[in-house]
């Protein structure tokens, strides 16, 4: 029984060699979307591209490698190396690589994986070696290569020549680092703007999040369900929508501004545009994240510690100050750094409400699409932004890795958490109440503002905006989608639906490799995959334009590039969900499956995946929702043919068509709520009521 299985490994290399032959002989070598030159590599080789012909050696070598695994490794890696060399060195004159090249690369990768597995890598498991190669390779191509391109282009002038002096000049430019505002000048450099903004938002979201968490975990209030709803809201809200709602509330013609003028004669002003408005918007957007982090931390503080403190004659205030507070301090640092990174990476709100207050993420955008296109400038700004976020990310990893006081144990902990000292309780309520009012107002404006003539000034109900966006007309040839929003909405849903399963699959596969397969360089691998989370969307957007605009990989203007951008930006969510879930599944289940003769691929499919349903659901939901709400990366990647909802909304808002923008936002949020519930129902819960095996 087992010998038959062992024999099956022998046929793998032959199959992949056949795939390599097909990819060389039959599949169009160049071009993603076909075209006149859609010939295979063999035909192209015959007709002058002689450098393509040596790749035929790969399947030939693979076929005569029986008993010599190193030959397989050499063939696979050699094929990949030659593909890279000919694509970059010779390739400037040839068209961009296409499906044939992709299939050939995968075949080479798998041949090398077979060879390495036969030589005993990863306990001789082909699937594991191949999966590691596939994940690492695609991260290299779709994260490493673009970021590398940014670094490179920062050192070049716009004609592509190396220019260190210009780089130094750009990097130290006063528009980035100027301190004019301190000496009463006009404005500071945008790096300082970004940093100051991020620090303020980081501190305030942490404090506010703590207040919310304390109210939720340490008091007996009635509105806890409301807090739970609030914590889901930022997930399904495109980030800039908050800025948009703030404009409609507090802008020059805003609802509240009008009321204040009518009732108290307070003149209308533009105070909301700029740092104050941006701060409020980001606070509303990111406080729920800090709340969730700190709620977890607070719930992790074992009530028995606080009870112990009280039995030792400490009052409530003393208990909070000497026991609870030190225990949650590491969590506070973590929440601060998350708020800091989110604020730096935020693009939609600065775009919407920032006014003349420029930050790095918008700076990158205007350097690319502004009047004076300067790729080098964009690259330098992106590098500064990347340095800030990665620095904070590394700090956060070091901090949370080093000290964690979370005191959850496997045992049931049947204590009652201490209630807050009265003063602190009052402070928390005073901080929380206005934000709840503001949040309700913001979402009220978003959901209903699109159905009145003009928010604040003319509250007559109307369906005009909704009709403009989503009208369905009836012409001579039957029904058709007449509304202006349909095109971008359908593209968005298609792209999100395509990206969703790929993102989840990649994330879960990576989590499985990280948690279950020991291999050399695993911690580096983990760091790199998580790092792509800390790369701001604007940086990804710019880097994709730089990397994938010309051969050998040309993707700009296609829908594919958006799918790829979403997959690699959102993959870390899948990884985190997968890792958290996998850590609860006893390793002996995998091992039992192995000793019963099932290989990793079967084990993953039949044992791990069914138990990972919650993680699969989570990563699918996130992949879908984040693909719909994201704006920063894709604003660089959209084309006339493939426009996305968020980009369309930002465009409408820029032209002052607030009604249209807000009605579209409300529809998006409604779609996401439906999708969330649908995926939850579809993927469902695990089929077991509880874990059966005793630990």
């Amino acid at each position: 029984m087992r010998t038959a299985l062992a024999g099956a490994t022998g046929s793998g290399p032959i199959a992949w060699a056949l795939i390599a032959i097909v990819s060389l002989a039959l599949v169009p070598w160049y071009g993603i979307e076909g075209g006149p030159a859609a010939w295979s590599a063999l035909v192209h080789g015959w007709r002058g591209h002689a450098w393509l012909l040596p790749m035929l050696a790969v399947p030939v070598l693979a076929c005569c490698s029986t008993g010599r695994p190193w030959l397989l490794v050499a063939a696979g890696l050699g094929g990949l190396a030659w593909l890279g060399v000919e694509a970059f060195a010779i390739g400037r004159g040839q068209p961009a690589l296409g499906w044939g090249a992709l299939a050939f690369a995968i075949a080479c990768l798998m041949l090398a994986a077979h060879g390495l597995a036969l030589r005993g890598w990863c306990r001789g498991d082909v699937f594991t070696v191949g999966a590691i190669g596939l994940v690492a390779g695609s991260i290299l191509v779709f994260v490493g290569y673009p970021v590398g391109c940014i670094l490179l282009s920062a050192f070049q002038d716009n004609a592509g020549r190396l220019d260190l002096a210009a780089f130094a000049a750009k990097l130290t430019d006063p528009s980035i680092w100027g301190l004019g505002c301190l000496q009463g000048g006009r404005s500071c450099g945008i790096a300082w703007n970004s940093l100051a903004q991020a620090v303020i938002v980081g501190v305030l979201t942490t404090l506010l999040g703590l207040a919310f968490a304390l109210v939720s975990a340490r008091t007996r209030v009635r509105f806890k369900p409301l807090l739970r709803v609030m914590s889901v809201l930022p997930v399904i809200t495109p980030p800039f929508v908050i800025g948009l709602a703030l404009i409609l509330l507090f802008g020059r013609a805003g609802m509240v501004s009008n009321l204040l003028r009518d009732w108290f004669d307070i003149p209308r002003s533009r105070w909301i545009y700029g740092m104050p408005g941006l701060t409020i918007a980001q606070l509303l957007a990111f406080t729920p994240i800090a709340y969730l982090v700190l709620l977890g931390v607070l719930q992790g503080v074992s009530p028995s510690m606080e009870e112990a403190s009280q039995t030792l004659r400490a009052g409530r205030w003393r208990t909070f100050r000497l026991v609870t507070w030190p225990l949650i301090r590491p969590g506070l640092a973590n929440a601060f750094l998350i708020g800091f990174i989110e604020s730096l990476a935020d693009f939609g709100n600065p775009m919407m409400i920032g006014g003349n207050f420029r930050v790095l993420s918008t700076g990158v955008y205007f350097a690319v699409v502004g009047a004076a296109v300067d790729q080098g400038q964009a690259a330098v700004l992106a590098i500064v932004l990347l340095a800030f976020t990665l620095g904070a990310f590394v700090l956060q990893r070091l901090w949370t890795g080093r000290r964690s006081y979370v005191t959850v144990t496997g045992k049931g902990d049947s204590g009652v958490p201490a209630t807050l000292p009265p003063v602190l309780r009052g402070v928390c309520f005073a901080a929380v109440a206005p934000w709840i009012v503001l949040t309700v107002a913001v979402y009220g404006v978003i959901l209903f503002g699109g159905f009145v003539e003009a928010v604040g000034t003319n509250n007559t109900p109307t369906l005009a905006y909704f009709r403009t966006a989503f009208a369905i007309g009836r012409g001579d040839h039957g029904w058709f989608l007449a509304g202006s929003a349909w095109n971008s909405l359908i593209t968005t849903l298609e792209v999100a639906a395509l990206a969703m399963p790929i993102t989840a699959a990649f994330g879960i596969l990576t989590a499985y490799l990280l948690s279950r397969q020991p291999f050399a360089g695993r911690s580096l691998f983990e760091f790199l995959t998580m790092m792509s989370f800390a790369i701001p969307g604007t940086v990804i957007g710019v880097s994709y334009i730089l990397a994938f605009n010309v051969a050998p990989i040309e993707l700009t203007g296609t829908g594919l590039i958006m799918v790829i951008a979403f997959v690699f930006r959102n993959m870390p969510v899948g990884i985190r969900a997968g890792l958290a879930n996998l850590s609860q599944i006893d390793r002996s289940l995998d091992e039992a499956s192995f000793t019963l003769g099932a290989r990793s691929s079967v084990t993953l499919r039949r044992v791990i995946l069914p138990l990972l349903r919650p993680a699969v659901a989570t990563s699918m939901v996130y992949a879908f929702v984040r693909a719909i709400t994201s704006v920063s990366a894709v604003i660089f990647l959209v084309s006339g043919e493939y426009n996305l909802a968020t980009v369309y909304i930002v465009g409408r808002a820029e032209y002052g068509e607030y009604g249209l923008a807000i009605v579209y936002s409300a529809v998006l949020i409604a779609i996401m709520v439906v999708a969330l519930l649908a995926i939850q129902a579809l993927v469902g819960e695990r089929r077991i009521g509880r874990r059966a095996v005793a630990a």
Binding site: G124, E591, A592, T595, L596, G597, A692
Partner: protein, 383 residues
């Protein structure tokens, strides 16, 4: 199944995890159809050895043969070996039938054939009628039997057990232990069994391999291990023995062991003349509430504990540092602490072992060691 070849051969196998050596140059062979136990305190390398046989770990050095074939570089899925895990590792989302079928289906059997074979083995472990249950709907003992059925349905060359009784309560433990032994004998299975419980090992094994600090310290039948421990570590670990400092003098095939006023004539077992230790099992020590007779030694009761079937005493011997541990069957007349007594040792329950510092393993220097007091003691199972 294989007839001639040894079921398992370990040829100078070493396994390192970074700087830690878990298995250090270990060699042994296991004959087909026998039940061999790997016994030792936690962290001694016995589970690593088992996982090396299973293919869940790859050796850093050395060769592993199963049924005569070199499997050193084969993965767990390719080896003809099944394992029953400590946690049972039943797939919680699959029914009993699906769990037992799993290996057959992974090996390419058709569903119908696999289910017929599985039903047979489910019957063999006495769980017919439970095929459609989920593991969470079974008791601990039933789950354990499903794990056994799942392993034996593949008819492996070697069946591995990793502490299979540790999640069962004390009463069930004895029954399951006997069931495993009966199943092994009736199906003539080759079994490698890991435990840290010496009583369990003595009860089920054809042969016991005792490991300590990543090496094999003794390899023999249960009787050999119990009666002729090769070192004070084995004496302490297997027999729970007291280790009392003595002087020995060779006398033909025997040696005269002198302890204060007492002299015993015992097999010398190649222990050199001079200082040595006497390993005495607690139940081989007799105590009398009277003055010492010839060949007895005076002592004092320090502590006593009534355990129903017997009484445990800690006794201080005159002129010997530390205390010895005594099990006395006379529950009718317990002796209170402080009682002056006389102590005799039955020669059948005592063995000479080399003193620490020589070729022995572990143990505190000098002094009588009450079981459990040495620094690298294994944890004891409650009796």
């Amino acid at each position: 199944m294989t007839g001639m070849a040894d079921a398992v051969v370990f040829d100078a196998v070493t396994k390192r995890y970074g700087l830690v050596t878990a298995v250090d140059d270990v060699s042994f062979t296991i004959a087909p159809g026998t039940l061999v136990t790997l016994l030792g305190p936690s962290g001694c390398g016995k589970t690593s050895t088992l996982r090396l046989i299973a293919g869940l770990e790859q050796p850093s050095k050395g060769r592993i043969l199963i049924g005569g074939a070199d499997v050193t570089h084969l993965s767990a899925a390719e080896r003809d070996v099944s394992m029953v895990f400590q946690s049972y590792a039943l797939f919680p989302h699959m029914s009993v039938m699906d769990n037992v079928c799993y290996g057959l289906r992974a090996g390419g059997s058709k569903r119908r054939a696999a289910e017929a074979m599985a039903a047979d083995k489910i019957g063999a472990v006495g769980l017919s009628g439970f095929e459609r249950r989920l593991p969470s709907e079974l008791s601990g003992g039933q789950q354990q039997r499903v794990a056994v059925a799942r392993a034996i349905v593949l008819e492996p060359k070697v069946l591995l057990f990793d502490e299979p009784l540790s999640n069962l309560d004390a009463k069930l433990r004895r029954r399951v232990r006997d069931d495993i032994r009966a199943l092994q004998q009736s199906l003539r299975l080759t079994v490698v069994y890991v435990t840290h419980d010496q009583e369990e090992a003595l009860a089920v094994s054809d042969r016991i391999i005792v490991m300590h600090r990543a090496r094999i310290v003794q390899d023999g039948t249960p009787r050999q291990l119990y009666e002729q421990p090769s070192s004070r570590f084995i004496a302490d670990f297997i027999g729970n023995a007291n280790l009392i400092p003595i002087t020995v003098a060779r006398d033909g095939d025997f040696a005269r062991a002198t302890l204060g006023t007492m002299t015993l004539r015992l097999p010398h077992r190649d222990v050199p003349d001079g200082l040595a230790e006497l390993a005495v099992r607690p139940e081989a020590i007799r105590i009398f509430a009277r003055a010492p007779q010839p060949n007895e030694i005076a002592g004092t009761i320090r502590k006593s504990a009534y355990l129903g079937s017997h009484i445990e005493y800690e006794v201080a011997l005159d002129g010997v540092p530390g205390e010895i541990f005594v099990i006395d069957g006379d529950v009718a007349a317990p002796l209170p602490p402080g009682t002056a007594i006389s102590v005799a040792i039955a020669p059948g329950g005592a063995t000479i072992v080399a003193a620490p510092g020589g070729a022995t393993v572990g143990g505190a220097p000098g002094g009588a060691t009450v079981g459990g007091a040495a620094p690298d003691q294994p944890e004891r199972q409650p009796a």
